[in-house]
Symmetry: C2
Subunit: 280 residues, 2 copies
């Protein structure tokens, strides 16, 4: 019985993400494609930093080692080196070349041959980029939740929101991925006694961006921190969100609802809305 069952219901499909660099693109794009097959199961394995033909041969043996008549793995590759790609393409598994198959098109459009080499990633530009990101992260940490007001006017962006609407992760993401100096400032219940922005950000309204959530989601998140508190109650969350929204509207501060968005999506929308440059 067991044998019949297992041949009728094959196991998960092995998926390999192979890359010359970190494999982040291969993984993201591969997973985006796999998400189009919601009923199926996969086992995922990332194999980053493949930079020699010898390493490619080891990878090849590894992939072909799990390939059988009934098990057909998927290989998503962003390897750019031509020789390494040729080696990998000899696999018995399905090889999805996210890079090479499109490079011909780009060459044709640009009338220039690609270097076909592992990209030199570590020039002066990368040191500058690293330094900028590091400074942005330090700025974001210093200015998290209104902890410091020093040099607040140097912020590229100030996120304002009631507690637990996602200020901190969004600030960190924008700093880390886009090199932006992002401060975040909390709106506490006392701030809603007036129709004005809190004093420290009052003159910086054009740098502000508001976050909102839904009462249910906010209550859930606050409840994890302080279960059963007034702070986490649906009534309190609902009140603070209503007042925050009114405040944003009165001061023409753009805002988004973070309840159903990922950090990446929020960051993208905020940058688009505030026309912030990508300094990452």
């Amino acid at each position: 019985m067991d044998i019949v069952d297992s041949s009728e219901a094959p196991g998960p499909t092995p998926v390999f993400f192979v890359a010359g660099g970190t494999g982040i693109s291969a993984e993201t794009l591969g997973n985006l494609m796999l998400a189009q097959f919601p009923g199926l199961h996969f086992t995922r394995r990332k194999i980053p930093f493949i930079t020699t033909v010898e390493q490619a041969r080891t990878v090849l043996a590894q992939i072909d080692g799990v390939t059988t008549e009934t098990v057909a793995p998927l290989v998503f590759s962003t390897v750019s080196d031509q020789q390494i790609r040729q080696e990998l393409q000899r696999t018995k598994a399905a090889f999805i070349d996210l890079f090479g198959s499109h490079l011909d098109t780009v060459e044709r459009v640009l009338h220039v041959n690609a270097t076909h080499s592992a990209t030199a990633l570590h020039g002066v530009g990368d040191t500058l980029r690293y330094d900028r990101r590091m400074q942005a992260i330090e700025f974001a940490m210093e200015h998290d939740d209104g902890a410091s007001l020093r040099n607040l006017e140097q912020a590229d962006l100030i996120l304002v929101a009631p507690s637990r609407c996602g200020k901190t992760p969004t600030s960190m993401y924008l700093a880390l991925q886009h090199g932006l100096k992002v401060a975040n400032y909390p709106l506490v219940p006392e701030d809603f006694d007036s129709d004005q922005l809190p004093r420290p950000v009052k003159e910086l309204g054009d740098k502000c961006f508001g976050l909102l959530s839904t009462p249910a989601r906010l209550s859930q998140v606050r409840g994890e921190r302080r279960p059963g508190s007034t702070y986490a109650s649906l009534a309190q969350c609902s009140h603070e969100l209503r007042r925050a929204e009114a405040l944003y509207r009165a001061h023409r501060i753009p805002s988004i609802n973070s309840a159903k968005m990922s950090v990446e999506e929020m960051a993208t929308v905020i940058m688009q809305s505030s026309r912030l440059p990508d300094l990452g």
Copy 2:
């Protein structure tokens, strides 16, 4: 003269990154390809969140509006919706479909049809993911630079290193992108008087991962913070790095040199080396 010059040396090639989501993959993979053409110049424009055929028509007009006999833009797309893709493919520009062209292969291997729809990204899994990332970020902020020792044993990873070797950005990246609870702990000159790990991490050596740098790079980074100081001197940096390396070796703490690596690369190497799961 000007006219002849401009026809011989055309302006930068317009590049569009079009996506149904944030466009992060389209941008990363597209830029990886453009890096293969080091002599050329590009103007880049990201157009995220294209989810309707109407929006696609607007994008099409925008792209075709800059397409002339001498200007051939490149369009990198990760749009997954079939109707939207068909609309975008009508462009006069070169359309590089990072998604659809490979989906046929995946369908063939899996013997299942793709749903061909914009992926439903916001299920329960995403809320859990968001919460995990948020907790990881808070943990990383609380445990930055040895600021707190509370629940240090709950860390998935403890980065140790002399000041300014990249502990903070690497911790934040691992927390934000991979949902890992990462503490970081500084090695200060006094720690080198002994051959032991600093007391707070002494019993947690198996969670530790060391960062190193080159004396020149470390001196440069420290010099930006405290120009002309002993702290930033080449001799001091060289001494601390040598002692840190000896300490890692004595306690079998794996380590990497951060001087020539991006944050993404460091994170990938550390996760691989320490066999950390991707909880992101």
